[in-house]
């Protein structure tokens, strides 16, 4: 059982971790796979794959409504997964954990319900220049619906938010601050705890997009002061199609439902429908039961590693790769914030990122190229696209060496 994992001594070595991820021993284009696209999605350990198989093999049933034994087991497993996510985020109550499709749906849930219930004409919502499109577009739609306005925190050339400008944007029309914990394209770790404190001083709640923060460091929503926190399961060793919206109970209670359907009601008549309490109110329809259980297994997996080791190892990779890539002639790293996660965006003189990606792919090295769903970041920094290597705790220095050899090959091909 996965619970035994947690009580064992934490794992702190990369070879052991790599053995848990079957895909990492595979090949791409005939070369050993070097997977450096973790900001797009993480690979899955066999513990998660087995949890999915076990659920479908032994426990599959719909939840919360069956009188039969199998349904009760499925319900128990699903609610246990919720409790695991509560502990993972240090939420005060399991009812504050809403299962959604991913961070995108989590943000849309808050944006759409707030647009209906809270935002009025000329209200303001604050986002930052470095947001992923999924933390921009939902707010643009919410503004379109409600007549509210979007305000944007500026960013320095290094990729750090201008906190003075942020403070001056907060005013009595501000209804929400929505900011990313870690930038997916630059790696910047934002001071969200301080930003939340500043917002709260102005009486404004804060939504934190945590998609890039898990599984790279401890997330404590209460310590951060996050009123809402969004995560995607697939970026933290879990399945695709499942994620979590954490929301402070009083704030979630005050919002109207996002979608209507089964599960989210207490009683329905044509005269009046009474909604279910949290979290069911926001979980209309049959949820991704297996996904939630798989995400619970991913959380167990992360907990059996040592956070301290994850941080040391990933930070070591970041420093090693930063210095090795900086030494490559004609290569420039984009995003040089003081506080960074293990994400390195770069551009090469006279060579487009897309060509870099194709040549690295021939070497078995998987990176992402393009605007990374952060077009405003590209516009702000004046680059059309970047190549991005993003690391997880299963990556190694040898893989960084392969990346560096790969970019040297790019230079060779382009002469």
């Amino acid at each position: 059982m996965s619970t035994q994992l947690v009580s064992a001594r934490p794992v702190r070595d990369v070879a052991t971790v790599r053995r848990d991820f079957p895909v990492l021993s595979g090949t791409a284009n005939g070369k050993p796979l070097v997977y450096l696209d973790n900001a797009a999605t993480s690979q899955k350990p066999r513990q998660v794959i087995e949890a999915l198989t076990r659920f479908y093999t032994e426990e599959n049933a719909n939840i919360h409504r069956g009188v039969h034994e199998l349904s009760q087991r499925a319900t128990l497993a699903y609610e246990r997964a919720r409790a695991k996510l509560q502990r993972f985020l240090n939420a005060a109550d399991p009812h504050e954990i809403v299962f959604v499709r991913g961070a995108t749906e989590a943000i849309n849930l808050v944006a759409m319900t707030m647009a209906r219930a809270r935002f009025r004409r000329d209200d303001e919502v604050i986002v930052s220049t470095m947001e992923h499109h999924s933390n921009i577009v939902p707010w643009q739609i919410a503004c379109e619906i409600s007549g509210a306005r979007l305000r944007v925190i500026p960013m320095s050339d290094a990729g750090e938010l201008d906190l003075e400008a942020y403070v001056s944007l907060l005013n009595d029309r501000t209804r929400l601050v929505a900011v990313t914990h870690v930038s997916n394209s630059l790696g910047t770790i934002n001071p969200v705890k301080e930003m939340a404190r500043l917002a709260h001083d102005a009486g404004v709640p804060v939504l934190v997009d945590g998609a890039q923060a898990a599984p790279h460091g401890v997330i404590d929503v209460q310590d951060l002061g996050a009123d809402f926190y969004a995560i995607s399961g697939h970026k933290m060793f879990g399945p695709t199609g499942i994620g979590v919206l954490y929301g402070r109970a009083d704030l979630l209670d005050a919002l109207p439902p996002y979608q209507g359907g089964g599960e989210m009601i207490r009683s329905v008549t044509f005269e009046k429908t009474v909604y279910a309490p949290l979290p069911a109110k926001f979980e209309a329809g049959t949820p991704h039961i297996a996904g939630a259980i798989g995400l619970g297994a991913a959380v167990d997996y992360i907990r059996h590693l040592s956070w301290e080791w994850i941080h040391e190892h990933e930070h070591g990779l970041l420093e090693y790769a930063t210095s090795a890539l900086t030494a490559v002639q004609g290569l420039r790293i984009v995003g040089t914030a003081r506080e960074k996660a293990a994400v390195i965006s770069f551009v090469m003189d006279g060579i487009h990122a897309h060509d870099v990606g194709t040549i690295l792919d021939q070497e078995g090295i998987a990176i992402r190229t393009g605007h990374h769903c952060t077009q405003p970041v590209m516009d702000r920094l004046g680059v059309p696209a970047t190549a991005r290597a993003s690391f997880a705790c299963y990556n190694t220095r040898e893989e960084v060496d392969a990346l560096v050899r790969g970019v040297e090959k790019v230079r060779e091909v382009f002469g």
């Binding site: 487009h352 897309h354 060509d355 194709t358 190229t369 393009g370 605007h371 059309p384 382009f414």
Partner: protein, 150 residues
């Protein structure tokens, strides 16, 4: 295994580095915009038609080597052609880049455009190679709507 040298042939690298017909034609009879949203390739194509004949053609844009070299090679190839000759060349080009790794490009019909034959081994790059041609089709026949490869 796909061959990088075949994808990035000297002709392709040369047209990427020094694109031909890279300028604006202020009084063009037709212009069209093309984008490849996935990777951000972007071109603006200017065409001066004299009846049915492409009297002048030029482009501006930014993007990967394949998209820019393809635009450059295309402008050089179709200048002076009749519209239907250009369309027929597009069909031959399209067949070449989507033919798959084992196909034999029709080098006689394609001329210098055959330098992009390596694209047929890289399905992810077909859109980059085709962008300029889709944009040309739009400039010659289109509604004036921007072309997108998505």
């Amino acid at each position: 295994m796909a061959d990088l040298r075949e994808l990035y042939q000297q002709v392709v690298l040369d047209h990427n580095r020094s694109p031909r017909n890279f300028r604006e034609i202020p009084d063009a009879t037709s212009t069209a915009e093309g984008t490849n949203p996935l990777c951000g390739d972007q071109i603006t194509l200017y065409v001066t038609l004299d009846g049915d004949v492409i009297r002048d053609i030029a482009f501006q844009g930014s993007g990967c080597a394949i998209s820019q070299a393809s635009a450059s090679l295309m402008t050089a190839a179709v200048k002076g052609m009749r519209k239907e000759e250009a369309e027929s060349l597009f069909r031959a080009f399209h067949a070449m880049v989507t033919g798959g790794p084992d196909s034999q490009p029709d080098t006689r019909a394609l001329g210098k455009l055959a330098a992009l034959s390596g694209v047929r081994q890289f399905p992810a790059r077909v859109k980059c190679a085709n962008l300029a041609w889709h944009t040309l089709h739009e400039a010659l026949h289109g509604s004036g709507e921007p072309v997108s490869t998505e």
